[in-house]
Symmetry: C2
Subunit: 193 residues, 2 copies
DNA sequence: CCTCAACCTGACCATACGGTCAGAAAAAGA
DNA sequence: TCTTTTTCTGACCGTATGGTCAGGTTGAGG
């Protein structure tokens, strides 16, 4: 799987640090063959980023058919942390792309992501109006959800060092519980303990 | 200022994408002169990263002499968001470094950062024991603090696109208020609204 | 068995990059 | 002023990289 190999190399070395030779080696085929499927390094990179963005958006729909914030946002946190765990490399490539000014997926940000964000912000506003949660700024809440979940992928190395090794099953469970507990209580969607 | 120029270029292009020529141009001196002050690209990069780490640690001390979590963690959030605003490039370079496995500052993670983290986790545990906040996992709380504050620097581009332009003074104030409100209420350090 | 298109590959090329170096300016001492 | 040390610079070099290309291999259709 070329895309898988490319994702790994791009995540580990960044776009500039990645070489077609490295990707080819990891995918187990000669470099020239890569150029048969992807004309340029940028084309391959774009394919990787778009693949991640799709996963990202798909998983985001768990928030849709939820009765209230505790259920909807809770499920969203679980889903995003699961992505951080299963697709850590993808998350890193995405983070890298955005950090460098989104040279490749600027249009996605301005269309798909902007629409998605506006939609979910509206849902949150509705929940607030229905008295199901505190009056928090929906956009900043969304940023916080993204930040605290993706952090486990993007800064996974740092977390592993501080944790003294890779996160165990129990560690991941604790992470999910902690993030959900703090945020849900923080937005007044949980009874205060 | 060479370090300033290097920080900008490394932040915008990543280590692999940055070139000594670009940094030299931005600093306004010939490339060969860069190599007079910094023998290799890696040496320059290391200097940039270490500079950021110092800022990062220094600002972290606001949490020290605080009576309780509302005050201490609140001040820490303010300080870290201020860093995200004033040193966005530095934050990006740090994020990039960690994301790629911390090839240069691995030792810092294992010594200074690990010690700092353990110390602050102890403070949080004390606050919990004193009944000043809810029983949350201190480590995961710290990760959440880092994530939700640094996000405004590392993903600043994405936020600006969604915001329809750079964050205004009021936007930054709202960001600080939102993050503090949700987290402080989330850890039971604020009266529930 | 032949044809043709899709798939694959070793060898090659132009370029851009990190780094070097001999020596010029400039500054600091005497 | 002369000497020495530090700072600076244009020109240059070896290498690694993205990309090309002519030709080989494979396999489905007839």
């Amino acid at each position: 799987m070329i895309l898988k190999a490319a994702e790994t190399v791009f995540a580990e070395a960044g776009f500039g640090g990645a070489t077609m030779q490295l990707i080819a080696d990891m995918a187990g085929l000669p470099k020239a063959n890569l150029h048969y499927y992807f004309a340029t390094k940028e084309a391959l990179y774009r394919a990787v980023v778009e693949r991640i963005f799709r996963i990202w958006l798909t998983a985001a729909n768990v928030m849709d058919d939820a009765a209230g914030p505790a259920e909807g946002i809770g499920a969203y946190i679980d889903a995003k942390l699961e992505i951080s765990r299963r697709h850590a490399n993808g998350s890193k490539v995405w983070a890298s792309e955005v950090m460098h000014g989104a040279p490749v997926i600027q249009d996605y940000l301005e269309t798909t992501l902007r629409d998605w964000t506006a939609g979910r912000a509206a849902v949150i506003r509705r929940w607030i109006a229905e008295g199901k949660m505190a009056e928090v700024n929906p956009e900043h809440l969304l940023y916080m959800l993204w930040a605290s979940t993706q952090h486990y992928a993007d800064f996974g190395h740092q977390i592993e060092v501080l944790n003294g090794g890779p996160l165990s099953e129990a560690d991941w469970t604790a992470a999910k519980a902690s993030v959900k507990e703090i945020i849900l209580r923080g937005i007044g969607a949980l009874p205060p303990s």
